[in-house]
């Protein structure tokens, strides 16, 4: 995979043309040979965001599977006050973290956000995500080339006469 360093607009143009090629290439690579989310890699993972299921999105983003770990701490509300704005955060005690990603299993496209964690950045992030309905939220931490996950269910119900 090439690392493009030009201005972002140029990079995007190239990316859109090259996205499918990049994905094909990824699929053909031997397992573990190409860490898809190394911090140096500056590409927007367009294909991973297009995948519907969580499993396909994880495969497209990382090319491998994750194992559950209690070292990944996922903080999410039990009942979302509003599915449009759900505060979700992750912290971890794992070493050599290079990325953290969030998947919302029941959304039309499971991958919600993926964060690259360069050296010197604390492995933790808080953000706000949309959820179409009650769903599992999966956080994946990439550390030392391996994937670790934590999962939590968030209940989402439709709004009514509240506030």
């Amino acid at each position: 995979m090439t690392s493009l360093t030009g201005p972002s607009a140029t990079r995007r143009l190239i990316l859109q043309g090259a996205a499918s090629v990049a994905l094909l290439g990824l699929g053909n690579l031997p397992f573990g040979a190409a860490p898809a989310r190394a911090a140096a890699n500056d590409k927007y993972p367009e294909e991973a965001f297009k995948q519907k299921s969580e499993a396909d999105a994880i495969k497209a983003l990382y090319g491998k599977t994750a194992e559950p770990s209690d070292k990944v701490k996922l903080d999410a509300p039990e009942i979302a006050e509003n599915g449009g704005v759900v505060p979700i955060s992750v912290t971890t005690t794992l070493d050599k973290v290079t990325s953290i990603s969030f998947f919302v299993a029941e959304n039309p496209n499971a991958l919600a956000a993926s964060y690259r964690i360069p050296d010197g950045t604390i492995p933790g992030v808080a953000n706000r995500l949309k959820m179409a309905k009650t769903t599992n939220v999966v956080a994946i931490v990439e550390a030392d080339g391996k994937l670790y996950s934590a999962t939590k269910e968030v209940k989402v119900t439709v709004g009514g006469c509240g506030g």
């Binding site: 993926s114 992030v125 706000r128």
Partner: protein
């Protein structure tokens, strides 16, 4: 026009905590407008934070990030007074950049 980016970066010892809020519709492409027509997807794809010539945090986002997105993280190696550059680009070619002083 005011910047679409609000950022607060606070150094506490060696650790700088960063919070950012960006004004952006983050349209999913699944929602219809009042006339029943689909609002096309319009969302930030990449948000980058740079400090002292180095990327300290890069976010790749899809449409499931909430409207007016918010993110919080912390990094080491900066001190009060350093510049933190924040920039984003969206799927329609839009972009914005701002630079904040770490306090």
């Amino acid at each position: 026009m005011a910047s679409s980016i609000r950022v607060r970066a606070t150094a506490n010892g060696d650790i700088t905590e960063v919070q950012a809020l960006i004004q952006h519709p983050m349209d999913t492409g699944f929602v219809k407008d009042a006339k029943g027509e689909l609002i096309p997807a319009h969302f930030i794809q990449q948000l980058k934070f740079e400090c002292n010539g180095k990327d300290v945090f890069v976010a790749d986002w899809g449409t499931a990030v909430s409207k007016d997105p918010y993110v919080k993280f912390s990094f080491k190696g900066a001190k009060k007074g350093d510049d933190l550059k924040v920039s984003w680009t969206d799927n329609k070619g839009g972009s914005d950049t701002t630079t904040a002083k770490i306090s």
